[in-house]
């Protein structure tokens, strides 16, 4: 988690945005956003709808270009980082290819770009081991339509991890799931984060989810999308579901709600 370096006064950055703006035609989705994402940290991204949460992830992952300002990912341009598979994206719906089995879906990133010399990782977990990690051992050959929504999302997470990314961008990945499945996947995600040391940017609509997962919560405000505040969540890990009833947790949640109301 880069603790040695921070002692020397340098905290390694996963991403650095300098006065970055994103425009879609006349519409400004993000304006003058300056932000440093610390490597290895878990960030929740929270804000009213239309505040550019998804756009922020798409800006970092080279899906939308910055109209002005600059974005660096691990000291490289976003394009270099994309070609080096430094980041992976988990979408709101699992976006699995319906004709491929769970295992084949996880293997997809390893098949693409092989012939063009795109860096593909070696020595990490195999697709089979990743499916086991997300609790889908025995369902390798199932087609997506044979899996539940939660299982499909877990396949998507396994697929995101297959290239050993250093940044995991998650756009409301559990938004469409029921609460029990969501709690379960939240815990699993924290385990994966602690084990791999990956930097996570996790967009959510849910204040409790944001507090439960994040070390820091990026609060964005809408029209145009700007950074409102970064809130540190000083709750120890491992976090348990029942911690959400603790007074500290509730204090954080109500504080975030207050900030959100001003956005």
């Amino acid at each position: 988690m880069g603790l040695d370096l921070s002692a020397a006064g340098v905290t390694p950055k996963a991403a650095v945005l300098k006065r970055a703006s994103v425009r879609f035609g006349q519409f400004t989705a993000i304006e003058d956003l300056s932000l440093e994402i610390e490597a290895g940290a878990f960030y929740s991204v929270l804000g009213p709808s239309g505040c550019g949460k998804s756009t922020l992830l798409r800006l970092v992952s080279d899906l939308v270009p910055a109209a002005s300002g600059s974005v660096e990912v691990l000291g490289k341009t976003v394009e270099e980082a994309r070609l080096a598979r430094e980041f992976a994206f988990v979408f709101q719906d699992a976006t699995l290819l319906p004709w491929r089995s769970a295992l084949k879906n996880v293997e997809l990133p390893l098949e693409i770009g092989k012939s063009r010399g795109i860096r593909l990782p070696t020595g990490g977990r195999t697709p089979r081991e990743l499916l086991e990690l997300v609790g889908l051992k025995g369902r390798e050959d199932a087609l997506p339509h044979e899996l539940s929504g939660g299982m499909r999302q877990r396949v998507a997470i396994a697929r995101a991890l297959v290239c050993q990314p250093r940044i995991l961008l998650m756009d409301e990945p559990f938004g469409a799931l029921d609460e029990i499945t969501r709690d379960h996947l939240n815990l699993q995600l924290l385990n994966i984060w602690q084990e791999t040391g990956v930097t996570v940017l996790f967009v959510t609509h849910s204040i409790p989810e944001a507090v439960f997962l994040g070390q820091k919560v990026l609060m964005l405000k809408a029209r145009p999308g700007r950074l409102k505040e970064v809130v540190d969540i000083d709750l120890p890990y491992p976090r348990l579901i029942r911690d959400r009833e603790s007074p500290e947790f509730i204090r954080y949640a109500s504080r975030l709600r207050d900030i959100l109301e001003q956005c």
């Binding site: 899906l63 994309r82 719906d93 693409i112």
Partner: protein, 266 residues
């Protein structure tokens, strides 16, 4: 535990039996209706003494299948070849054009209106022109069968290739996939359900195309036999030929459906 298991089993059994009964009824009902209609037809013809050249009894038609099978068979195969070749040619061209359309808006703008125009010409009006161009041989019929298959496949294939979700394309972009990787790994498989619904239409229409082609000019084939038996008042042969034509369509449709079930498993 064992008691519960047995209870669950006996609970499942009547359910299974009910499903089986329903499945049987589903298959049996149309068959029974068909048999009843044939019987009504048979007795209707006999009771009202309908002259055989106006409408033959089903038993007469059945006799044609037994006694004149070589005649039917020798006319079946040419139509079969024309239909299959037309099916392959028309769909191949439609698929290739759809791929071109999806990759180039210019190609779509240039050729799509022409494809629509060709599709609006009634096949009966187009057939004589094609027979004049290609002669009375096999080629004209294959071209007519191909033309009739072409349009539904083109439209469906274009839609299929464009049916990829924006998120899938974002995924491809994040993986830095090349255009050809997107095509082979995402677009083409996505289009298969659309393609097969078009192929199922084409499977039956290509037979119509071949028969219409034979009406305009042929001495062999089911279309030629239909005309010949009509003009000679051999109505039993006419009916048998009509049934055989429909049988050819059903066969083509079944083959396409079977391959769909083997290929599109999601």
């Amino acid at each position: 535990m064992a008691v519960i298991d047995r209870a669950a089993d006996s609970a499942a059994d009547p359910q299974l039996a009910a499903i089986r009964r329903e499945r049987f009824l589903k298959a049996a009902l149309p068959i029974c209706t068909g048999i009843a209609l044939l019987l009504a037809w048979e007795f209707g013809v006999r009771i009202f003494k309908v002259p055989p050249f106006i409408a033959p009894a089903p038993s007469d038609v059945a006799m044609v299948f037994v006694n004149q099978w070589p005649l039917l068979a020798s006319n079946f195969w040419p139509t079969f070849y024309e239909s299959v070749l037309g099916f392959i040619a028309g769909n191949t061209i439609a698929i290739m054009l759809a791929v071109a359309f999806v990759h180039s808006r210019t190609a779509e703008r240039a050729f799509f209106p022409i494809a629509v125009f060709i599709n609006t010409i009634p096949v009966l009006a187009m057939a004589p022109i094609l027979v004049l161009i290609f002669g009375a041989g096999l080629t004209a019929k294959v071209v007519i069968a191909a033309l009739i298959c072409f349009f539904p496949t083109l439209v469906n294939m274009v839609r299929g290739l464009q049916s990829v979700s924006p998120q899938s394309l974002e995924l491809a972009r994040i993986l830095s996939a090349s255009k050809s990787e997107v095509f082979w790994k995402i677009r083409l498989p996505s289009s298969l359900p659309f393609l097969f619904s078009a192929l199922k239409i084409a499977a039956t229409t290509c037979v119509i195309g071949a028969i219409v082609g034979e009406w305009v000019g042929a001495d062999k084939g089911l279309g030629a036999l239909i005309l010949d038996s009509t003009f000679n008042f051999r109505s039993a042969v006419l009916y048998a030929t009509v049934f055989l034509s429909s049988g050819l369509s059903v066969l083509m449709f079944a083959l396409v459906s079977l391959s769909e079930r083997l290929i599109v498993r999601w």
